[in-house]
Amino acid sequence: MGILENRFQDNVVVASMDKLLGWARSTSPWFFQFGLACCAIEMMATAASRYDLMRIGMIPRSSPRQADVMIVAGTVTMKMSLRVKKLYEQMADPKYVIAMGSCATSGGPYWQHGYHVLKGVDLVVPVDVYIPGCPPRPEALIEGLLKLQEKIQADRPLTKKIA
């Protein structure tokens, strides 16, 4: 930390504001539970005591306004896609989306003949992390969430972006 090093007592930590914000954000991304199909069962299992998502600071929220991450867990139908979009727009910035399972990433088993299924939730909202699987195991979901935390941590919200 250059000139700031060793200038204060031991109980003072010195860091850049940018980094601190990234760290704070990444360690408590509350997720908006979006159980649409069988993936929701795995998501619930992940949040329950055996896999315990609280370890990495994540709690399920039922309102888009309290959530930072939207886990789209399941098949998104055409009818639902409009609602997904609306709910995404209701979330406060910064917001992230995880596409969990084959259906949310690409339409999954409904790719060929599902007339009413959205072929991937990325057609409607921007997706940060895709998790393959049908449905993915809780370990896979946790891996995806850790990847997302890395991504959030790498964000530098105060730094001016060079276009």
Binding site: M78, K79, S81, Y115, K119, V124
Partner: protein
């Protein structure tokens, strides 16, 4: 002596068969008594065999006689409807289901529900059916009676270009959602239904998904529905 004894035993056995066991028990000579008892057992066995033969014979003859008379439930219902509502059946042939015309369907449904012989108080399913291009559509009703524990299937054909069938929503309340689902998937309109709208697909959905000539729409509210899926199979 032996002839006398035989006659005596036959007499006693006869008495015993009519319920008077004392006749045998009171015989003083032990040998005669045991002979009499043996004769009684034999007589009883023979009587039993004869009786079962008789009943089995009579049962056989009964089934042979009544088999052609016994009608299936569908046939009974069809016959009853033909009598009560003439010209309501599409065909007299009853092959596990009743093929009907849509004429009077509402009244017939009420009759089937309330008639004490049938009491079809439960509409279990309403299904649509598409026979293919330029062919008719069909609605199928599965009725079940909780009281009598019997069930029938009723089928009504309707024109593909103007599919209309009387609604039975007011007869069985569950018909409300069943008919809306059939409307949603096949576009069959149920006349007299209080809320004939789509139930599963969005209201602005185009086409009837379960018809054979259905084509997936290209986009929905600006969202592209991908049709060409190269490099996947």
């Amino acid at each position: 002596m032996s002839e006398d004894q035989d006659k005596f035993i036959a007499d006693v056995v006869e008495k015993a068969l009519q319920g008077d066991m004392d006749a045998i028990n009171n015989i003083e000579d032990r040998v005669t008594r045991s002979k009499a008892k043996a004769a009684l057992v034999k007589a009883k066995r023979e009587a039993k065999a004869a009786a079962t033969e008789d009943t089995s014979k009579s049962e056989e003859s009964k089934t042979e006689e009544s088999a052609p008379v016994e009608k299936s439930l569908s046939e009974k219902v069809a016959a009853c409807l033909n009598e009560k509502f003439p010209n309501s059946l599409e065909s007299e042939d009853v092959n596990g289901h009743i093929q009907m015309k849509d004429k009077n369907w509402f009244e017939i449904a009420q009759y089937l529900r309330d008639n004490l012989d049938f009491l079809f108080d439960s509409l279990q399913c309403v299904t649509g059916y598409d026979f293919g291009e330029n062919e008719d559509l069909e609605v199928r009703y599965n009725l079940h009676s909780m009281t009598h524990n019997h069930a029938i299937e009723i089928r009504i054909k309707t024109d593909r270009n103007n599919p209309k069938v009387p609604s039975v929503e007011q007869v069985w309340r569950i018909g409300d959602w069943f008919e809306r689902e059939t409307y949603d998937m096949y576009g069959i309109e149920f006349e007299g239904h209080s809320n004939m709208t789509r139930i599963l697909c969005p209201e602005d959905w185009a086409g009837w998904p379960l018809r054979k000539d259905y084509e997936t729409q290209e986009s929905y509210h600006g969202i592209v529905v991908q049709k060409v899926k190269d490099g996947w199979e």
